[in-house]
Amino acid sequence: MFELIFFSLLNGIVTGLLLFMLASGLTLIFSMMGVLNFAHASFYMLGAYLAYTISIYMGFWVGLIVAPILVGLIGAVVERYGLRYVHRWGHVAELIFTFGLAFLIEEVVQFIWGKDTKAYLEPEVLQFPLFTFFGQNFPAYKAFMLLISIAIFVMLLLILTKSRVGLIIQAAIHKPNMTAMLGHNVPLVFMGVFGVGCALAGVAGVIAGPALGTFPGMAVVLGSIVFVIVVIGGLGSLTGAFVASLIIGLLQTFAIALDYSVNDLLTALNISFDADSALRDLWSLSLPQVAPILPYLLLVLVLIFRPTGLFGNRET
């Protein structure tokens, strides 16, 4: 049991931090521009595929640096020549634009790379178990994912809170008009943030590709969960996104690890139902089976009890 809890904790943190890398970019974009970028997970996929191609010719490490930059540039171009143009028709048009973009990117990826799973693998220096505990390995690559995610969180936090760029970004998030009046080029800041947000998704893709598989459906699998994190964490709050990512990562991992059902709970409470009651299917559902819907349940609860999100300080 202790083995299960220990590894679930580790796995949950790894998943959570990976989700954070995706969510951090999205929350920046969402809070600044008010655009829920539906194509965010597609940039994540793009990062994985670009890094896969680069890694064939120049190795994993070059991919780790170059692929996110490429994704960031693509993101910046999308903002400059797509979103900014569409913006004049309001938020709905922007939303639909990013929605369409997600489909477009998926088709382009399938067109260029094909539909099968790509053998994008971890770099060989990291292909060893970091430690073995109760006979179970913890791959070094997972530890590497963990470190990169934490480094990015610390770096983002420092930039946003300590640097001048961060000051302007923070200002543009909360009072865009005032920031523009003070002579800052807000559209340029928007473009930069969108690009950096996409690049962050790209990094997540580069390091998640080898661990979670590189296939055309990888964006769809992660797409909706990132929005849940951004909303639970609260608009404009990086810390919120960080905490929400960890909560969701741990929630899902532990839900899978613990084989309890509603029935067990009822038995523990000394409540029993007729074995052929119509609701039998409902209360025999086990925790692993409902694991995928738990984040959405949490989302509903947060929206009911704390509409601004856990750390949000601004109404949408």
């Binding site: 049991m1 083995e3 299960l4 590894f7 679930s8 796995n11 949950g12 790894v14 998943t15 998926e106 399938q110 094909g114 539909k115 099968d116 799973t117 790509k118 053998a119 693998l121 178990p129 073995t132 109760f134 006979g135 179970q136 390995n137 791959p139 690559y141 997972k142 661990a211 979670l212 598989g213 296939f215 055309p216 459906g217 769809v220 699998v221 992660l222 969960i225 899902q252 991992t253 899978i256 690890a257 692993p288 089976q289 995928p292």
Partner: protein, 412 residues
């Protein structure tokens, strides 16, 4: 004068078109061509086209020169979307429907086709199920219009458990699968056959996970490891198999994994060395060693045309070949006559196996093989990776056959 010439030109154009239309027999291919399972679907489509071209069209077609045409329809693996595509196919006058990926889809299609044929007896449709292996399709839910060319999940599990039963070292087994009809059928069959053949084996886990929605299989692998299992049985396919195989490898769990679909479409390459001699797969085909020149030529021909793909399902060649034979035998392309010709028909596959389409439930009875994932003695590798499947044991057609509970109504 001019108008007469024009009119005759139009008439001849129309008659030429209808003559051409009469020269073809269309087969609708309804399977995922986008989404997480697109790779599996697309590979199947290419195999169908290749089989139709080389086994039928290149040899002069059927019924005095009619050519097979495969018409693709993307169902996005959704049963609902499949019914829309089925309507489209029927609307285009297509009377042969091929589908295989997902028993959930096959269950929806077989119901819809049965209903359609009841309402439109003059324009019936035949369902060629080349891969959906939910046993119910040839048992409780069987009907005259459905033919299955793959061995069903029970038959495959019967063969798989025969092999497991001989492994004395296995005391604890973990079952994991996708949460839908097929995954449940695999788990039920495993519990049943293991209980009969090796009652001493403890089933330490019987888990179903959402299909195509799991981001990371590591939590499942952790659970399998913690359960102390000596072996894993899974029916996972597509991206779900890659994820599970990788996660199990990452935790350092060194136990055999008995599977249905853990090869090709990128899976073999991704699993690579980490699954060597560990992954065993049950299937109706045979990759290595190649059994004769005919299958070698077919394989090489396919590889020459599609260097990035593999023959993933030999049964597709059987489906196309048997359909052509049945049409010749019936002397017509009318689905009812063809279905009657298919019943009880014997067919020699490219591998040299004898396949019988059992009349009572329309289940193909054929030899079943268990292969191991390895890079030794591999003539035809998968995913151009150097790794491939080498046959370890074969269960004969007679031994693989299981009784059916099918009660079929036949058109008079």
């Amino acid at each position: 004068m001019k108008s007469i010439i024009l009119a005759s030109a139009v008439v001849s154009a129309i008659s030429a078109f209808s003559a051409q239309a009469a020269d073809t027999i269309k087969i609708a291919f309804i399977d995922p061509l986008s989404g997480p399972f697109a790779a599996t679907g697309t590979n199947g489509l290419r195999e169908f086209e290749f089989a139709a071209d080389t086994l039928v069209n290149a040899k002069g077609g059927v019924l005095g020169g009619q050519q097979f045409v495969i018409v693709p329809f993307d169902n996005k693996i959704s049963p609902k979307e499949s019914l829309v595509q089925l309507k489209r196919a029927i609307g285009e006058g297509i009377q042969y429907i091929a589908q295989g990926n997902s028993s959930g889809v096959a269950n929806a299609l077989t119901d819809a086709i049965k209903k359609h044929n009841k309402r439109n007896p003059d324009k019936p449709v035949l369902f060629l199920n080349y891969s959906a292996v939910d046993p119910a399709l040839t048992n409780a839910k069987c009907n005259f219009w459905h033919f299955r060319f793959d061995a069903n999940a029970d038959i495959k599990m019967n063969a798989l458990t025969d092999v497991i039963a001989q492994e004395d070292g296995i005391k604890k087994i973990y079952l994991i699968g996708q949460d839908y009809s097929f995954g449940k059928a695999v788990a039920a069959a495993a519990v049943k056959f293991l209980g009969e053949k090796r009652p001493d084996i403890e089933i330490v886990g019987n888990e179903l996970h959402p299909i195509g929605k799991v981001k990371d299989f590591t939590p499942y692998a952790t659970k399998i490891r913690a359960s102390g299992a000596d072996a894993v049985i899974t029916g996972n396919w597509g991206a779900d198999m890659v994820g599970l195989g990788k996660a199990i490898g990452d935790t350092g769990l060194d136990v055999p994994i008995y599977t249905y679909y853990a090869a090709k479409n990128g899976i073999t390459k991704t699993i690579g060395a980490s699954g060597k001699n560990k992954i065993r797969l049950v299937h109706e085909g045979n990759d290595n060693p190649p059994l004769n020149e005919e299958i070698t030529a077919y394989y090489t021909g396919f590889k020459a045309k599609y260097p990035d793909m593999d023959i993933t399902q030999y049964r597709i060649a059987n489906t196309v070949g048997m359909l052509a034979d049945a049409m010749e035998k019936a002397g017509s392309s009318d689905p009812v006559a063809v279905a009657k010709a298919l019943e009880g028909m014997e067919f020699k596959t490219l591998n040299g196996d004898i396949l019988t389409m059992r009349a009572e439930d329309h289940q193909a009875i054929q030899p079943i093989r268990i292969s191991v994932h390895t890079d030794e003695n591999v003539t035809f590798d998968a995913d151009n990776s150097g790794f491939g499947l080498v046959t370890e044991s074969t269960v004969t057609a007679a031994d693989s056959a299981l009784p059916s509970t099918c009660k079929m109504d036949r058109p008079s």
